[in-house]
Amino acid sequence: MLVIEDDAALGGQLVAQLERAGFVVRWLRDGDAARGADLDGLSLVVLDLMLPGVYGLDLLRLFRARSDVPVLVLTARNETADKVRALELGADDYVTKPFWPEELVARVQARLRRPTMTRGDRLRVGALDLDLGAHLASHAGVPLDLTPTELQLLVALARRPGAAVTRRALADAALDLGGERTLDVHVSRLRRKLPEGAPRIVTVWGIGYRLEAGTP
């Protein structure tokens, strides 16, 4: 991962925060050095738009011409035109200063998150394996005895593990009749059928449910 930041204090913090989150970080302090940066093998670039001597957007254009590496832009000027321009030039996302360390890390992780759908019609969350084509669910190789509604619910949750899914979305995905009122009954039965160590279905206040990867 490459961080391009001219301010010594902020640059130091960014590097420390990202390293603590488990990334290997290289730090360049000025635009001239960044111009010739080697982008090969990088998973992401964090680029501060306010660099001395070079307009950050030019650097962005330069990077985009050479590589498809995701670029996360830091901006202190809270101007829409800047953000739109950055996104048009190929930036993947931006973070507006001031930000908390976890804010930046969350955006980096969101950008690097791999899509869950691994192969065609199969979903895997931890040891949970959902075969959409054959309508089968198994955990650690042991088949789960689920009704079609329960399987649909589990699929709807497993498509985005860790993300809360609204009751309405779950009802739309899995319930033909009864709507949201019978949702809790189905979820409660589904929970009982998930074995120890499998991903858990967590209630999210005000929203619905979320599938959390279980302990392996």
């Binding site: 809270n78 829409t80 930000f99 360390p101 804010e103 955006r107 899914v165 979305a169 929203i207």
Partner: protein
Amino acid sequence: MKLRARAALTLLVGIVPLVALLVWGLREVRVRAAVEATSEAVLESLGEPERALCEADPAAFVARSGRGPGPRLRRRVARHVSPLRLAVYDEALRPVTPDAPRLDAAMTAALLRGEASAARREERARGARLVVATRTPWGSGRCAYVVVERPDVRRGRTLLWLNAFGVALATVAIGGLAVGPIVRRIRALTAAVAAGAPLPEGGPDEIGELTRAFAERRDELGRRLAELEARDAALKRFVANTTHDVMLPLTVLHGHLAALEEAARGGDPRTAATLRAAQEEAHYLASLVQNLGVAAKLDAGAPHVVWHDVALVPLVERVVARHARLAAQRGLELAHAVPEAGVTLRGDVTLLEQAVSNLVHNAVRYAEPGGHVAVVLEHAGPERFELRVLDDGPGVPEALLARLGERGFRGDEARTRQPQGLGLGLHIARDVAARLGLTLGFARGDERGLVATLSGPCLPARAAG
């Protein structure tokens, strides 16, 4: 009404009654002249022989031929007017000859008063008639009065009215010609003022004075506007630079505070509490600076709204990430849900993000420890979205709830930092919603707390990224 039409109308309104009066006066004069001429002709043709003839045989006296004055009178009076009817009245004003024209009360009274002649007009189907009664020179006996009925003199009436109409038309035309150059100059002036072009040469008259006054005021306004624009540009630069200069150290401060909190974990609880408070203040300060920037943009008007496609899902994720630390410190669960398909709408990402951020910040600030805040983004139809920010905090009293959505409502509490205060944030959220054509509503939660709902049109779900 245009100047030319107004001038024409004014002239018409002035001229028409004048012409009518003139026509009426002329006709009166001509009628009087005709009456006098008839009367004189009658008197001139009467002498002693005629008196004797009349007393002896009135019918022969008024006959169309013979020795009476009838033929002579006819020849004289009827040179211009014919046919003519003659009759004779006695001294008691009783008709003596058959088929005599009727005398009305006014004529009778005038003749009995001793006047030499009297006349009246009478409208008939075949044109108006004049009846002229003349006292004979002897004025007594059977032939005291000779009455002549003749056509009125109004043969030239149509011609008279045509003349009058012509005069009126000519006056209006001349008026229009006179107003023409004035109208053209005023139009040229209007066009120059509207286009911001150099003003036409004024000339020494009132329009010239108007032109010069315009030019002077325009120059002065231009100077003032240039001054204001320069000042505005300088101020904008200053604010932008200052914001930038403030945001960098504030980011570093955020980082230091976060690191300090981590280092102090498990240590003195007072240190931890102080650090939490410090982070809340830093968070509030950052939000305040952002809000002031947005408020300046909103106050500046429409040109400062940059319209483009805004992806709402990453926006919600950024906002939730921004307030995650504050929520965690307050012991709150801050969760969010977004649709898989994404939501894109036309708007201004900076304004919109600040509005949503303010709603979430508000919910996080007023929720109680152990409480919940949820941010839910959903499609509410094929081309509508709904973004709800829910909390299970104390909520807002019903009376205040109704006012939260009011545009322009900014009580004193907006500037205070009391827990009960509404803060600048909600007002900005409401103003942003109005500016972007979205709806922002507030309601009570199912059991307690507040639900803020931002909704509006979005691009069709399949097109959204």
